[in-house]
Every structure is written in structure tokens, then in C-alpha cells.
């Protein structure tokens, strides 16, 4: 809910442990790790989150998104609470919500990612206009004849 209110710093504090835990639960259910995140065959050695995710058998594109956009080097500063509190945390929380939608779609049978992207598609034209505002022509520009390829020099 904090993300919906754009309180991204607060949201990241709960989103990261939540996501980590949700993927970890699947890892434990698939007997990839123990309940306390250790290697199944080496119960004294902790398995890194990224290694565990790569063993879950996710689709390649979802795995890449989770491991390199939400977690990994891009996400670690936010996972441990020392990332950029402005644009960076916004990016990570929004990507985290997309990953959560992917988790729900993959493991809970809820087409959350499809709904999310369908709604994003509706917001896309406005988002493009915000990022690259359309160039508005003045009346004078509209009246001006099209430029030719000839150089703008006056031959006397």
C-alpha cells in the first residue's frame, strides 16, 4: 500500500523481505534449500538468494528479471536498506511489485502479471508523452514551407 502512496522507502522495507521469503518458500517446498535457507546437501552452508532462484526452474525471462533487476547488484543496496532514497528506490519497489505479480502468476495461479502489463499498456501513451513530450508546432512553424536539402546560402 505504501507503494500506491508513493512511499517507496517505507515500501522497500517490507517488499524485499516479503519477496525474498516468498521465493524462499518455493525453494524450500521444492527441496532446493532447507527451511532456514541452507543448501539441502550442506545444511551448514547458506545458499545465496540468486543461486536459489536460478534453481527454481522459472522461465528464463522471469529469472533474469528477478536476479538482475530486482535482486543482484541492482537490488542489494535496497535489500539492505542503503540505496538511493529517491529515483533508485522508486525503480526497485516498482520492479519488486512486478516481480510479486510474476510470483503470483507462476505459483498461485493468479494472472497478476498479465493484468499488470495489460494495464501498463493502457498507461503507455501518457507515459511516453511524459518521458518524451511531443513537440508542439507554433503557427509560424506550421505555415513555413518544408525545408529543402539545398544549403541555406544565398547565391549572388
Amino acid at each position: 500500500m505504501q507503494a500506491a502512496e508513493r512511499s517507496y522507502v517505507v515500501a522497500s522495507g517490507s517488499l524485499y523481505p516479503g519477496l525474498e521469503g516468498a521465493f524462499g518458500e518455493v525453494g524450500a517446498a521444492k527441496s532446493i534449500i532447507t527451511a532456514d535457507r541452507m543448501w539441502k546437501d550442506k545444511p551448514t552452508k547458506k545458499m545465496s538468494f540468486e543461486t536459489m532462484v536460478k534453481k527454481l526452474g522459472l522461465t528464463q525471462v522471469f529469472e533474469l528479471f528477478v536476479v538482475s533487476a530486482v535482486f543482484g547488484e541492482a537490488g542489494d543496496p535496497y535489500r539492505y536498506g542503503h540505496g538511493d532514497p529517491e529515483e533508485g528506490v522508486r525503480r526497485q519497489v516498482l520492479f519488486g511489485i512486478a516481480a510479486l505479480a510474476g510470483w503470483l502468476q507462476e505459483f498461485a495461479g493468479v494472472p497478476a502479471r498479465d493484468v499488470l502489463v495489460a494495464r501498463m499498456a493502457r498507461s503507455l501513451p501518457a507515459a511516453i508523452d511524459r518521458v518524451r513530450p511531443p513537440v508542439l508546432q507554433t503557427d509560424a512553424q506550421r505555415r513555413r514551407p518544408p525545408r529543402s536539402n539545398a544549403p541555406d546560402t544565398v547565391v549572388t
Binding site: 517490507s14 521469503g21 526452474g57 528479471f65 498461485a108 493468479v110 502479471r113 498479465d114 503507455l124
Partner: protein
């Protein structure tokens, strides 16, 4: 499997079990959920082009296939035959081909990137709008669109409700001190509790 909080077996465990048994891998799961987005558009494009080629009824000269029909059957056009397509198929289909070509360029640029996870579900008309943008601008557009969806006040509550319904077999009241932790459903809460326990 019982959760750390003593809840019953969540619904998603069944999905994991089926995946382990090879009954419902991610691909099958996706098929069951409906194949939407760019992949199906590509399939439609290929199928459409094939059917146009088959319906051209260009006479075979001395047993040699029409070059246009042969070109249309190719998975990738070797050169721009937009004008030919426009002549044979009419404006709307030609526009679709053009959208597919531009979308294909965007796909080629992004399909090995993490953001393709979201972009791959856009249709060709959305993807082609991203064609003139730089990489940084595409990421900014994706984040802007994501933020608009998250902030509209519908999706996040829906994720809470559906996530909770899908992830727990018994209702778990939100913890008053940390209601946000339930946002993704019981498994998120259970997972974070387990994580907290393992870190303690």
C-alpha cells in the same frame, strides 16, 4: 507442508508439486493461463502471412512457385516488400505488417534484457511506440506506466486479496503492526517470518 505459523497447505504448494512431477511446468502453466502478448502476435503474423501466400492463387509458371508467395512464406523478409504487401493485402494488413516490423526491431534490442519480462507481454502496437526511444527513455516509460498502475488504487488491493486467497488455505488477519507485510499474500508473510527467524 505446514507453514511456520501453523497454517494449512497453501494453494501454490500444489503448483510446485505438479511442477516437480512434470505435470505443469511453467510453460504448461502459461498455456493454461492463456497465451497473450507478443509471442501470440508473432504467431498470428506468421500464420497470416502464410495464409495470404496460400490464397494468392498466383499461377505456377512451368512448375515454379511465384516469388511473392515464396517470400511471404519466409519467416524473415530478406528485404522490404511493404509496397508489394500493400498492393496485395490492403491498408489495414499492411499497417499490421509495418507494426510487426518495428516491434521486431524493439524485440531484437530488448529480448536479452531483464526488462523484456514486462515488454514481451506488450502487443506490437505498444512495442512499436518504443522504437524511437533510447534505452534510458524506455526504462523511464516502463517505470512511469508501472507507477500509474500501482498508484491507481485498484491493482495493489487486488494483489492483496488474490494473493491472500491463492496463497493461504485459511484466512490470516493482517498483523496490526505491519499490515503491508500481507500485501503479497500469506506466503509473503510466512516467507518473511521464516526469513526473520533464520536471521535471528
Amino acid at each position: 507442508m505446514r507453514s511456520a505459523l501453523g497454517l494449512g497447505e497453501p494453494a501454490w504448494v500444489d503448483t510446485v508439486r505438479k511442477m516437480s512431477e512434470g505435470l505443469a511446468g511453467p510453460q504448461n502453466l502459461r498455456l493454461a493461463l492463456g497465451n497473450v502478448g507478443f509471442a501470440s502476435d508473432i504467431a498470428a503474423y506468421t500464420g497470416l502471412r502464410k495464409s495470404i501466400a496460400e490464397n494468392l492463387r498466383v499461377p505456377r509458371l512451368f512448375g515454379i512457385e511465384s516469388p511473392v508467395a515464396a517470400l511471404l512464406r519466409m519467416p524473415v523478409m530478406p528485404f522490404d516488400i511493404s509496397e508489394t504487401l500493400r498492393r496485395y493485402t490492403g491498408e489495414p494488413v499492411w499497417e499490421f505488417f509495418e507494426a510487426m516490423q518495428e516491434a521486431g526491431l524493439v524485440a531484437g534490442r530488448w529480448e536479452r534484457q531483464a526488462l523484456w519480462y514486462l515488454l514481451s507481454r506488450f502487443g506490437p502496437y505498444e512495442l512499436r511506440r518504443l522504437a524511437p526511444l533510447t534505452r534510458a527513455e524506455v526504462e523511464a516509460v516502463v517505470l512511469d506506466a508501472l507507477e500509474a498502475v500501482v498508484a491507481d488504487g485498484e491493482l495493489v488491493p487486488a494483489l492483496r486479496t488474490r494473493g491472500r486467497a491463492g496463497a493461504t488455505s485459511r484466512e490470516l488477519p493482517p498483523h496490526p503492526a505491519r499490515p503491508h507485510a500481507v500485501a503479497g499474500g500469506g506466503a509473503l508473510l510466512r516467507g518473511s517470518e521464516r526469513l526473520a527467524l533464520s536471521r535471528a
